[in-house]
């Protein structure tokens, strides 16, 4: 069966490695609005345990009411944090943005970061990524733990909720356990979009990249593959989709976006970027792109004014948003609650 045609997905990072972090909301609002003007699917904001600048999820929650359609995807660390808090914060981002939330799952591996919390020692990537996978799993279960129609407000019996539609998740992992249900009702997207970043190379001496890949293949809705050439991106995509099949995932697996460093010195560059994206997409090496601008304040206007119109001309980018949620932008279905499905199946 031929895959339904979907233009490339397009996302942009609001932060950049060499640029000092900003603490003021106006900076982030202006950038996100510009990206929304360019009808991009989502913006990402990086975060690092012990890193400089404000909490990424806080920033994107702060700008949610100032934007209307653009997806909001902060990095959230699963090491040294509480899975329950992580899941409720991401669910709440989805509520305050009316269905535009995602999260990029990240881990923390250094002693310096562990010392900021002081609960435990640093652990190798394979271990913290395995835990990250469990956190993503339990987050999904907590989001599902309120079925969509659990709130009934039945005046006749005085019942506000139907407790048969609320579920204890009873999750026991290697490093934590969670009883559930969530305290936050099921968010508008059912499950906010889960994103995992991987690199183009397969596996390293510390087995980190492959542990990441396993999580991306098993649980991500979107994988961001850092690659500098189409071959590496294409190979990583094939690898991810094969792993996803091995995990028994439905066809499609994660959407794979090539994550590219971009520097737009001139509006010439902006046109060149449009051509490059079109070329990579035509080769089928990625479902879309995540652009890491060298300097967002300088480069994002050039992207939106220079590259975006050219992509639109070639039919590679929408002219206006059709949907309102991030899942709709990405062409991802809204998942049913696993508990609702199980209840249906048991009937």
């Amino acid at each position: 069966m031929p895959e339904p045609h979907h233009p490339p997905r397009l996302a942009v990072a609001l932060d950049a490695p060499g640029v000092p972090p900003r603490h003021d909301a106006a900076h982030y609002t202006a950038l996100a609005r510009l990206a929304e003007h360019g009808t991009l699917d989502f913006v990402t904001l990086g975060d690092r345990f012990g890193g400089p600048g404000p909490d990424a999820l806080a920033v994107l929650a702060r700008i949610a009411p100032d934007t209307e359609r653009i997806g909001l995807v902060p990095t959230v660390t699963t090491t040294h944090t509480e899975p329950f808090h992580v899941s409720t914060a991401v669910a709440t981002l989805d509520w305050v943005s009316r269905g535009r939330a995602g999260w990029t799952v990240e881990v923390s591996t250094t002693e310096a970061e562990a010392a900021l919390v002081g609960l435990r020692k640093a652990a190798p990537p394979a271990e913290v990524w395995s835990e990250a996978g469990e956190v993503a799993d339990v987050a999904g279960r907590l989001w599902d733990s309120w079925e969509d129609d659990a709130e009934i407000r039945d005046r006749a019996t005085g019942r506000f909720v139907d407790r048969a539609k609320l579920h204890h998740v009873d999750f026991t992992g290697r490093a934590f356990s969670v009883r559930g249900p969530s305290i936050v009702p099921r968010p508008p997207q059912g499950r906010p979009v889960t994103v995992v970043e991987v690199t183009g190379e397969t596996g390293g001496p510390d087995r980190g990249p492959s542990a990441r890949r396993e999580v991306a293949a098993a649980r991500a809705d979107v994988a961001l593959v850092r690659a500098e050439d189409p071959q590496t991106a294409g190979a990583a995509r094939a690898d991810l989709l094969a792993r996803a099949r091995a995990h028994g995932r439905a066809p499609g697996g994660p959407l794979v976006l090539a994550s590219l460093p971009v520097e737009l010195e001139s509006s010439g560059d902006a046109a060149g970027l449009a051509a490059l994206l079109g070329d990579w997409f035509a080769q089928g090496v990625a479902d879309g792109f995540h652009l890491r601008l060298a300097d967002p304040v300088r480069d994002l206007p050039r992207l939106v004014e220079g590259t975006v119109p050219l992509l639109r001309e070639r039919g590679l980018l929408r002219r206006s948003y059709e949907g309102t949620t991030l899942r709709e932008h990405l062409g991802l279905p809204r998942p049913a609650s696993i508990y609702a499905l199980a209840r249906e199946a048991a009937r």
């Binding site: 806080a58 920033v59 944090t81 509480e82 329950f84 808090h85 669910a91 919390v117 249900p181």
Partner: protein
């Protein structure tokens, strides 16, 4: 009466977002609708606004800001309550995560303080200090943290450590938590490089650089909610505001005097700690109308099902065979019975039961009427004018420094107060007509904490 020589105290006001308890009425009987609230598209008999949709939060926060309130307040619950081992299904339940919703509210308000309750038991200082500093930056200096000390194994089942702490340990953890947060907030880069923090204590070992620049308020405002001697001592040593349940005039004055008396030992002045009881209000065009509405609201809050359930929480045994409109059971409470989880336990159930039975006999009250009478918390019932007068008197007579208002309707419950009572408080000269500062500290009349000089 000789005139009081002191200047009139200003009343501090906060808005509590309703929901997640049986004080929030969700069935929307038309008689409970405030007389000035807009119809808002809700038809009589339909359910009221949502406890989770962001639009509800925007409505309440904007209303509070229109009334020039000091802050918006969110409580916290981390596990759905259970009764007889099943999720409690009668009250409003489900709420957003505190800091995320407050950050979003910062976008739709300009001056209003944004206060979030976050437990010291189920969090760690580095992460929470960073999240509150972020809120303070992103709101331009309007963040407040209500540091609560909840610890029960029931809630702890949602968290890594299981989270149970003895009562005695809760406040030592909270105090060390706050001291560590202060060290982190003070270390943030402010023009220069960040300072390293190296804290080693009984509960925490935190070492490294914080990374977030010092926030507009330096330290977000700290609120304490809790009532034991340890709780009061902790508040006296470190809090800017106390949220208390002592909302009657006598209990209020006693609590006020007790807490303010503790301040000098910490080198603090009485005005450095604001005392704000949580209160409810019911307004009517006449006193009779307000009282009638108050009774009707109580009947909504305590349905026959809720009445039995409340009784079971005291008795600790199944009472489902009793008639809520009949007399109280003559069996005694089970001192070990634990039907309700996720609620504060009643210390002496036998004493409560004896008191309730005596009351019920003396007045001939049914189970439901007894619960209505004994659990009532309607603090201010009257006309806008009488409520403004009573509140003013309450504050001028040192029973409080202000109030955390808990409306019984979501999200329009505060509208009539802001429209009808606030102007009268302004006329009396006890409530601001415009914000004079931009930060929550300035609304509360609190100085910004000095950044300690480098030790290294």
């Amino acid at each position: 009466m000789s005139p009081d020589p002191r200047p009139r105290k200003q009343i501090h006001l906060a808005a509590h977002f309703p929901g997640v308890n049986n004080t929030t009425v969700w069935a929307d009987p038309p008689t409970l609708r405030p007389t000035t609230a807009p119809a808002g598209g809700t038809s009589p008999g339909s359910a009221l606004g949502s406890q989770i949709d962001f639009a509800s939060f925007v409505h309440l926060a904007r209303t509070a800001e229109r009334g020039r309130f000091d802050f918006f307040f969110l409580a916290e619950g981390l596990r759905l309550r259970e009764h007889k081992g099943r999720i409690h299904d009668l009250d409003v339940l489900g709420r957003p995560e505190t800091l995320t919703v407050l950050n979003a509210l910062a976008a739709v308000t300009e001056r209003l303080g944004l206060a979030g309750t976050v437990s010291a038991t189920f969090n760690e200082p580095y992460e929470l200090a960073r999240r509150f500093a972020s809120l303070d930056h992103l709101s331009g200096g309007r963040a407040a943290w209500n540091i609560v000390t909840t610890s029960d194994a029931f809630t702890g089942e949602n968290f890594r450590r299981g989270g149970y702490l003895d009562h005695a340990d809760r406040y030592t953890r909270a105090a060390e938590f706050l001291a560590t947060a202060h060290a982190l907030w003070d270390s943030g880069p402010a023009g220069g490089p960040p300072r390293r923090v190296d804290h080693r204590g009984r509960h925490f070992a935190v070492r490294g650089e914080f990374g977030v620049a010092r926030s507009p308020q330096g330290h977000p405002v700290v609120i304490q909610a809790g009532d034991s001697a340890e709780g009061r001592e902790f508040a006296a040593s470190a809090a800017d505001v106390i949220f208390t349940r002592h909302s009657g005039p006598e209990a209020g004055r006693a609590f006020y005097a007790d807490v303010k008396r503790r301040l000098p030992a910490y080198g603090r002045r009485p005005e450095d700690l604001k005392i704000m009881p949580g209160v409810t209000f019911v307004l009517g065009d006449t006193l009779a109308e307000a009282q009638e509405r108050a009774v009707e609201i109580r009947r909504q809050q305590v349905s026959p099902q809720t009445a039995l359930l409340t009784l079971e929480q005291v008795w600790g045994v199944d009472l489902s065979s009793y008639d809520p409109d009949g007399p109280l059971p003559d069996i005694d409470p089970d001192p070990h019975g634990e039907l309700a989880q996720g609620r504060v336990r009643i210390a002496d159930p036998q004493a409560v039961a004896d008191r309730w039975r005596a009351l019920s006999r003396a007045k001939g009250l049914s189970i439901r009427e007894t619960v209505i009478e004994t659990t009532g918390r309607q603090s201010f019932v009257g006309t806008p004018d009488s409520v403004a007068r009573e509140m003013d008197h309450f504050v001028q007579s040192d029973a409080a420094d202000g109030f955390i208002l808990v409306p019984h309707l979501t999200p329009e419950g505060l509208d009539p107060f802001v429209e009808r009572v606030v102007p009268l408080l302004q006329e009396r000269g006890v409530h601001r007509t415009e914000y004079t500062g931009t930060t929550l500290r300035s609304h509360l009349g609190l100085p910004d904490p000095a950044r300690p000089a480098r030790k290294d």
